[in-house]
């Protein structure tokens, strides 16, 4: 029994990914005593900068920042003097097999040779419309999902519906025509919405790839327009963090420490202590105990349940948690290059952009097919950056890392992830890029491949899924991570989810952590 002792902390946060840190900082900002426990030596979860080979560092997993929630950043001072964060916005270069690559800068596409793109205006209009719709949804991302347990017509239900009603009013302000368009496409698929307006090619392909990155869906899957909007929430520009994604995690950590949070790395939680249906603290792997009034978990929902013990959950909740879909499909391949590769048809400075291999929507959809059956794409979708071009500090030896997110790669590969299979993944990545950058293969000095299974092993992300759970409508809002557990409280009193598996979901937004902390404070369990 630990309940008789005075708890050491007001809150324990499990996991020092950006959401865990955001939750910790938000709680500490309100004067609570918080400790963050991170099992690995490094903080940041998927946002980490590592040495890929001697003298060469790079963002090990996630590599670009595009969706940091401005409310969270402002509240926690991310990017302020106390928690500095330097980023550089880079253009998107969507590669074309015919060499007529398209460069998208400030939301406007043009051919790499500088000539105008015939669909520039259509593209800009479509993207700004999607962005407008995304902002509408933005209101939802900084609040807890509505609590409908009081019924829709009760007073408490009406109060909960207030925020939704405000969303409805915002939608009304869009005007009838836009509102109708919003309601038509919100549940639709990227393939149809994109190809209704754009020719199928690299430009449409770039949006299709953004719509499905990290998810187990293809552009034809209904719901992918939503995931595209989610991605475009902050305008759709992508930024390269100086010093890699580790710098983003560091900024969150600094903010947390600024408010007095203690961060303990190499501290693995063995079990969450539950007494009388209340979280009381944690037992660490070394057998020691830390007590607290609240336990916040930023790891996956299923994993959090296992850490707590299934016996503390109703059988239905266990079943739902078991059924969360989190099939990771994105691998990370970091290629250490002896020199900067030459891309046929690209100006040297354009290589510093975000390079996409997504030559058409159809290509992206076809790339999706094999992963449904446990195979790798034969023609993968790739998002690659060479951060050293924009951020020379990362490489001292003149070597460069080409950081590539490769889709679709199954978490559980038919035949297993043998050495041969990993080599195949690296080969596939090099071959796909070599089509555009002849000779790339001969520049590769070292390759570091992380399959979704590796990402799961290294970061704990369930299934190696970038969002800790598919961002599809059956796993969003009031049913994220699962029905009846969507309000951050995780069944047991004082136990909260604060990671990407909770509302609003994945990407480096910080919203899940921050919302969860606010909900815990509101529920009065931490103080």
């Amino acid at each position: 029994m630990v309940s008789s002792t005075n708890p050491e902390y007001d809150a324990i946060v499990i996991g020092a990914g950006h959401n865990g840190l955001a939750a910790a900082a938000t709680l500490a900002r309100k004067g609570l005593r918080v400790v963050v426990l991170e099992q690995s030596a490094q903080i940041g979860g998927m946002s980490r900068t590592s040495e890929i080979s001697e003298g060469v560092r790079a963002s090990r997993i996630a590599h670009l920042l595009y969706n940091l929630n401005p409310v969270v950043a402002k509240e926690l001072g991310i990017g302020s003097a106390s928690s500095p964060l330097a980023t550089r916005v880079i253009p998107t270069v969507t590669l074309s097999p015919d060499g007529r690559h398209v460069v998208i800068r400030d939301g406007t596409p043009a051919y790499a040779d500088g000539s105008a793109h015939p669909e520039a205006a259509t593209y800009a209009a479509l993207r700004s419309r999607l962005h407008k719709f995304a902002q509408l949804l933005g209101r939802l991302s900084t609040m807890s999902p509505p609590d409908l347990s009081g019924g829709l017509s009760s007073m408490s239900g009406l109060k909960e519906l207030g925020a939704l009603a405000a969303l409805g009013l915002d939608a009304k302000r869009l005007g009838k025509k836009d509102m109708r368009e919003f309601m038509r496409i919100i549940l639709s698929n990227a393939n149809d919405v994109l190809l209704d307006e754009l020719e199928d090619g690299p430009l449409a392909g770039s949006l299709a790839a953004d719509a499905v990155r990290g998810s187990c869906s293809g552009p034809r899957s209904p719901g992918t327009v939503f995931s595209l909007m989610y991605r475009l929430a902050q305008g759709g520009d992508v930024a390269l963090p100086i010093e890699g994604m580790g710098a983003v995690a560091d900024a969150f950590a600094k903010a947390a420490r600024h408010y007095g949070v203690k961060i303990n790395t190499r501290t693995s939680v063995e079990k969450i202590i539950i007494e009388h249906d209340r979280a009381r603290g944690v037992v660490l792997q070394d057998g020691s105990t830390i007590t607290a009034k609240t336990v916040m978990s930023s790891i996956g929902a299923f994993q959090s349940m296992m850490l707590t013990g299934a016996e503390h959950f109703d059988a239905e909740a266990v079943r739902r948690l078991r059924n969360i879909r989190h099939k990771g499909t994105a691998a990370k391949v970091n290629l250490v290059l002896k020199d900067v590769p030459v891309f046929a048809g690209l100006q040297p400075d354009q290589r510093a952009g975000r390079l996409l291999v997504a030559p058409s929507v159809t290509y992206v959809e076809r790339a999706f097919n094999p992963v449904k059956y446990g195979d790798m794409s034969t023609h993968p979708v790739i998002e690659a950056v060479i951060p050293g071009l924009a951020d020379p500090a990362l490489s001292e030896a003149g070597a460069h890392v080409m950081s590539a997110i490769v889709q679709y790669v199954p978490h559980t590969l038919n035949g297993g992830w043998t050495g041969e299979a990993r080599e195949k993944l690296v080969r596939l990545t090099i071959d796909s890029l070599e089509q555009y950058a002849p000779g790339l293969g001969s520049l590769v000095a070292h390759a570091d491949a992380l399959t979704p299974a590796d990402i799961e092993a290294e970061t704990g992300a369930p299934g190696g899924h970038w969002h800790h759970g598919e961002m599809s409508f059956d796993q969003l809002l009031t049913v994220r991570p699962v029905n009846r557990l969507s309000r951050y409280n995780f069944g047991v009193g004082g136990l909260y989810l604060c990671g990407a598996s909770a509302h609003p979901g994945g990407d480096v937004t910080g919203a899940a952590g921050r919302n969860s902390a606010l909900q815990a404070i509101k529920d009065g369990v931490a103080s």
Partner: protein, 545 residues
């Protein structure tokens, strides 16, 4: 009623929805003309003798969705409609086993248990969810679609009805409902069952007629579209219309004619006559013109507006929206005359499910791959099909001892790809035969001697369905059943209540809410809306009002 018009209302197309709308209007006292381009009526609910002595339901082939309120209002049994419930179905495996989806619940349990103990009770949970969802959705079928953008009292009233129904669900069921409506049939079944064969059997209902795969979100809802019917109250039960599906159209036509209506076949519409934004009547291909202040099109929304209304009469936004309406064909069909009942070695003697729907697709992955083929413009190399031999219980369909078999095939593309070009025109006779061969090869996995019994086979590609029935791209639902095309989005946002930008011109087919299937709800709802807008709302019989 304008003094120059010969009719009060004209319905273009004698499909089941057109006839239903016509019937309601005629019963309300309007003078109604139905014009039909074919020499027969029925649209996709037809019985045709295409091989001497054999009657084919050559499009739709079973019924359950026909709303009972409509059957009652229009007294269809009095006009000869007989529906014979059929007894379950089965999926046959190449190794001589099967899963029988027996209609007798007490027998179904051990049959499921034969494959998996665990799945027996999982089935109860599955069916509770499906029945609850059916119960939730059914009250909406014969109502106008909600319009969240409208503040009109009628629309607010519909919205309140919806909110009340959602409130009744309670928080948990609301969450489960949101999930059910947005998830894929594959994921839904994976959450319940462990036996792939059982999953494959049930999943078929989630993809029939769609351009979606079993793992596409939204297909669990499509399953509902096939389950929410009933044969006298038994949710999900299906039946054969005696004499083929044309019997439904025949009964509707007889009811219509008794109410004073007039049908002209062989009278295809050339264009809808419009003046000053108002419909005046129709001009037929043969040059005849008929006038009426109300014109209801049973054609799909694309055909109605892109082929038969002058573009200058329509707002650009509307035309764009109609052009973007998704109506991809994905289904083919074989209608087969058999000299005898072929042998299905796996099926026990006297098994009830022999008279039900038979399938040969044994896993969800197989079904998903069938979809992948279609996406790329090929028919499925391992097609899913829904195969029935209704002549076992309806001897009017074939000569004694002989049989009629209907095989609905998923997937077959409209725009077949040949040499890198995708076009409906690629459906040559050789391609059609190759398609049929693929289907026969698959049937042989459960019925090895099928080919030797075939006397005649009608091969229907999506192109054939478009050409003969008039369904654009051969889409059996007159438009895909995805969320961007359902409820207030169907057929296009702002026009989900049967009216169109042209005053007096209405959409009454399955392109309109609540969508496809032989349920006649769009026709009845549209008639109600037409009568209401013309000051005759009270003339609508009460059950479907």
């Amino acid at each position: 009623m304008g003094k120059h018009s010969k009719y009060d209302a004209i319905v273009a197309g004698a499909g089941h929805n057109g006839l239903t709308a016509a019937c309601y209007m005629a019963k309300a006292g309007l003078k109604v003309l139905v014009v039909e381009k074919s020499d027969w009526i029925g649209g996709a609910a037809v019985s045709r003798e295409l091989h001497e002595g054999w009657t084919y339901s050559n499009c739709s082939y079973v019924c359950s969705l026909l709303r009972r309120e409509i059957v009652r209002d229009l007294e269809l049994p009095r006009f000869g409609l007989q529906v014979i419930p059929y007894e379950g179905g089965a999926t046959l495996t190449p190794d001589g086993n099967y899963f029988a989806y027996l209609s007798d619940h007490d027998a179904l349990r051990p049959e499921i248990g034969r494959h998996s103990k665990k799945d027996v009770d999982a089935y109860e949970r599955f069916s509770q969810t499906v029945v609850r969802q059916c119960r939730f959705i059914r009250p909406f079928l014969l109502r106008n679609a909600v319009d969240p953008t409208s503040l009109k009292p009628r629309d607010l009233n519909e919205m309140l009805f919806l909110i009340r129904k959602m409130h009744d669900l309670g928080a948990r069921e609301l969450g489960e409902t949101i999930r059910f409506w947005t998830m894929s049939i594959g994921d839904f079944l994976d959450e319940h069952f462990e036996t792939d064969l059982i999953k494959a059997h049930i999943a078929g209902s989630g993809i029939i007629g769609t351009g979606l795969g079993v793992y596409s979100p939204g297909t669990a809802y499509v399953l509902l579209h096939h389950y929410m019917g009933d044969v006298d109250g038994a949710i999900g039960a299906w039946g054969f219309a005696r004499g083929g599906m044309g019997a439904i159209s025949k009964a509707l036509a007889a009811a219509f004619e008794e109410a004073g209506g007039e049908i002209r076949t062989g009278s295809g519409v050339d264009r809808f006559l419009v003046k000053n934004g108002k419909v005046r009547g129709v001009a037929l291909e043969n040059g005849d013109e008929f006038e009426a202040p109300i014109v209801a099109s049973n054609m799909d929304v694309k055909r109605t507006f892109l082929k038969h209304v002058g573009r200058s009469e329509l707002p650009d936004d509307f035309v764009t929206a109609v052009e973007r309406f998704k109506i991809r064909g994905s289904s083919g069909k074989l209608n087969i005359a058999l000299d005898a009942l072929p042998n299905f070695p796996a099926i026990p003697k006297g098994a009830s499910f022999m008279r039900g729907d038979l399938h040969c697709s044994t896993s969800l992955a197989e079904l998903e791959r069938a979809y992948d083929d279609w996406k790329d413009g090929r028919w499925s190399s391992e097609p899913y099909f829904d195969m029935l031999i209704p002549s076992q219980i309806d001897p009017t369909l074939a000569p004694p001892g002989s049989h009629m078999m209907t095989v609905f095939v998923q997937y077959a593309p409209y725009d077949l790809e040949v040499d890198g070009v995708r076009s409906g025109q690629n459906w040559s006779d050789a391609q059609r035969k190759a398609f049929a061969d693929t289907v026969f090869d698959k049937i042989e996995t459960g019925c090895p001697d099928i080919r030797k019994h075939v006397l005649h086979a009608e091969i229907r590609t999506p192109l054939d369905i478009e050409n003969e029935v008039g369904l654009t791209e051969g889409n059996i639902f007159q438009g895909e059943l995805t969320f961007d095309q359902l409820i207030f989005n169907r057929p296009v946002p702002g026009y989900a209540q049967y009216g169109t930008p042209i005053d007096g011109l209405y959409i009454v087919g399955s392109s309109a809410h609540p969508g496809g299937g032989v349920m006649a709800a769009p026709g009845a709802n549209a008639a109600r809306e037409i009568l209401r807008r013309n000051g005759r709302g009270k003339a609508m019989p009460s059950h479907a009002a």
